[in-house]
């Protein structure tokens, strides 16, 4: 079967739950993954490391989408949670001398534990309170990053060693690319399957109507806390990879601006959509780069405008978020669906 039928002809549950429905989709997704792995062979260092940052952002965005998009609880602390992951991973590698493949999941679990402490009060309450509690988490953690010198190097920051698996060190752009992209692909796979599972459906039930969910026997407290823990785990992994990518960590990398950046990603990409997380991550990672290039070109003609746009960079993010929320609240993923259905019926649009 290489094309989807026009109506709904699925007969078994298994058929209904399929992720990749038609042969065409299977082939194109497969081809995309293969291309992803061949990409650094053709592209230069700059492009390779750009895609690496996108892959890190995809992991972080998937994490925050699980708690915000699928479970309906806002988190304003994901920047700080990434920081916890990054510092924890580098601490485990430097001080405890754990190998990277142990240190990274351990950092993820540490972040999940820290996240649960802050998620605890709000799991009893509505989404609004989690937003405020995680805002508090953001500031408290940021304070700890600066003041826990023995872990984080204080205000000087800390140099994180390149990770090693066996005797192979991930120190080049290309090896970091493969590491990050592999984990990002795994994260996408895991999230897609999580959403189809019992737990994933429980998350969506909690989001759509928490009272009905409770009546149906979905324990609210458990699932709110679980989704928050999973989400923080993703943030921890993304943070560890960020540490690997930059090789240098400091408290300024994990401010509230970073948290808002991640929220913006999932809103632009599409809340409650795996594909949306990917689109959002790509969009928000490329946008500053495009802005920088654009300003560079404009600065030659109007020297004053460069400064203006630079100081307006954050404002442009904000503006884009506002415009998306007003005019395209379902994000890029929705636009993508529209484009797909347009071409599916082309040239007869009915």
């Amino acid at each position: 079967m290489s094309v989807a039928h026009c109506g709904d002809f699925r007969q078994t549950y298994r058929e209904d739950m399929k992720v990749l429905e038609t042969r065409f989709i299977r082939v194109s997704v497969g081809a995309f993954v293969v291309l992803l792995y061949l990409f650094p062979l053709a592209a230069g260092n700059y492009l390779t490391s750009t895609v690496t940052t996108i892959a890190i952002a995809v992991i972080g965005a998937l994490g925050i989408n699980i708690v915000t998009g699928f479970t309906g609880q806002i988190s304003l602390g994901h920047g700080a949670f990434m920081g916890v992951g990054a510092f924890a991973c580098s601490y485990y590698m430097r001080v405890a001398h754990l190998p990277f493949w142990v240190a990274m999941p351990a950092a993820g679990i540490t972040t999940a534990a820290v996240g649960m402490v802050f998620g605890l009060p709000s799991a009893r309450l509505k989404g609004l309170y989690l937003a405020i509690a995680t805002l508090a988490a953001q500031f408290i953690l940021q304070y700890l990053f600066v003041h826990m010198d023995f872990v984080t190097g204080g205000s000087n920051g800390i140099v994180s060693p390149p990770p090693e698996i066996g005797s192979f060190a991930f120190d080049g752009d290309r090896s970091k690319y493969y590491l990050t992209v592999t984990i990002a692909v795994m994260a996408v796979l895991f999230t897609t399957n999580l959403i189809r599972s019992r737990d994933g459906r429980a998350f969506i039930a909690v989001r759509d109507h928490y009272l009905s969910a409770e009546i149906m026997g979905v324990p609210l407290f458990k699932y709110r806390l679980l989704s928050f823990a999973i989400s923080a785990f993703y943030a921890g992994i993304a943070g560890s990879l960020w540490g690997v990518y930059t090789g240098y960590l400091s408290a300024e990398q994990f401010t509230i601006a970073e948290s808002i950046n991640y929220l913006a990603m999932i809103i632009i990409g599409g809340l409650g959509s795996v594909l949306g997380s990917i689109f959002g991550a790509i969009f928000m990672t490329l946008l500053p780069q495009i802005l920088t290039v654009g300003t560079g070109a404009l600065a030659g003609i109007f020297p004053k405008i460069g400064f203006l746009i630079m100081s307006f960079k954050e404002g442009i993010f904000g503006l884009i978020v506002i415009l998306f929320l007003i005019f395209e609240p379902d994000g890029l993923a929705h636009r993508w669906r529209l484009i797909k259905s347009y071409w599916k019926l082309f040239p007869f649009s009915y």
């Binding site: 806002i74 009060p121 508090a136 808002i260 307006f312 954050e314 929320l325």
Partner: protein, 296 residues
């Protein structure tokens, strides 16, 4: 001892300004159920606009103050009409996110116009001599700020209790639909809520600006208001005022105590948030908040 009394006094002053900003926040939340993350930026915009009037254009203080109020009114009207009105009926997440986006837009506009340096009001709004109150020297700025903030809070208390618009606002807060069916123009009430919030924030901004100077960090005020409103109960106006005072005092005292006892620096920035997490754990609906009891 005197050290702590000084801290207590400056805490009360800071707290009264928190109370003003928290009042604005609570008004918006109560009548429109919007969690406004841009409160701090409204404050900052007011402070900077007044700075531009007083220092850059040499307008006398009285007129500068009035112009600032007019400006923040129009800012609130524009923001409400262009950004918040289309969001009516959207999920909470989208509304929170829209105010976050708004806050970064406003912050960038301020940075683009006035830069990031710290500025001071010249000439100052209040004379900078100290007066002795019960044997303790207190700077006049503090007295004026505290007095002004307290007056405004009392004024708004009376407004909500007795004036027609105030009663309409409370009705809207209780239920939009019922208010609408009783002939209250709910959209206008929303706009009014934003106007009041913006004006009290701008006044708070001018007060804090004449105490600490004006810089881009003033925006943090809007975030530090959260501990105050959570303590008071999100939707209570009395609670917001009281919560503001308590958080201001607590912030200053804990800062002083931790600095002298353990040599910890900069706890001022986080103490309110630690406090916030503790409140959420033990008394999530705050002192005066409406408890929402839902049983399944």
């Amino acid at each position: 001892m005197e050290f702590y009394i000084q801290l207590l006094i400056s805490g009360l002053v800071l707290g009264s300004i928190y109370a003003l900003v928290a009042l604005g926040f609570a008004i918006i939340f109560k009548s429109t159920s919007v969690v406004n993350f841009a409160q701090g930026e409204l404050l900052m915009f007011g402070a900077y606009f007044c700075f531009a009037m007083v220092v850059q254009y040499k307008v006398p203080w009285f007129w500068a103050f009035l112009l600032t109020l007019v400006f923040s009114l129009s800012l609130a009207l524009i923001v409400e009409r262009l950004i918040l009105r289309p969001m009516i009926g959207e999920p909470v997440i989208s509304i929170i996110m829209v105010t976050i986006g708004l806050s970064s837009v406003l912050r960038s506009i301020i940075t683009a116009i006035w830069g990031t340096q710290i500025e001071i009001y010249e000439p100052p709004l209040f004379p900078d001599t100290t007066v002795m109150v019960a044997g303790i020297p207190i700077s006049q700025v503090y007295l004026w700020s505290f007095g002004l903030a307290a007056t405004l809070l009392a004024l708004f208390g009376v407004f909500f209790k007795y004036s027609k618009a105030g009663v309409a606002m409370r009705a809207t807060a209780f239920s939009n639909q019922v208010a609408l069916s009783m002939g209250i123009p709910v959209k206008n009430i929303f706009a009014l809520a934003w106007c009041i919030a913006s004006v009290v924030s701008a006044i708070g901004g001018i007060l804090i600006g004449s105490i600490n100077g004006i810089n881009i960090g003033l925006g943090h005020f809007g975030l530090k208001v959260f501990p105050a409103v959570i303590l008071g109960g999100l939707d209570s106006i009395v609670g917001a005022a009281l919560g503001g005072l308590i958080v201001g005092v607590l912030e200053n005292l804990s800062d002083g105590a931790l600095k002298s006892a353990f040599g910890l620096q900069g706890t001022k920035e986080v103490a309110p948030f630690v406090f916030l997490v503790i409140i959420l754990m033990i008394k999530p609906y705050g002192l005066f908040g409406k408890k929402e009891i839902e049983r399944v």
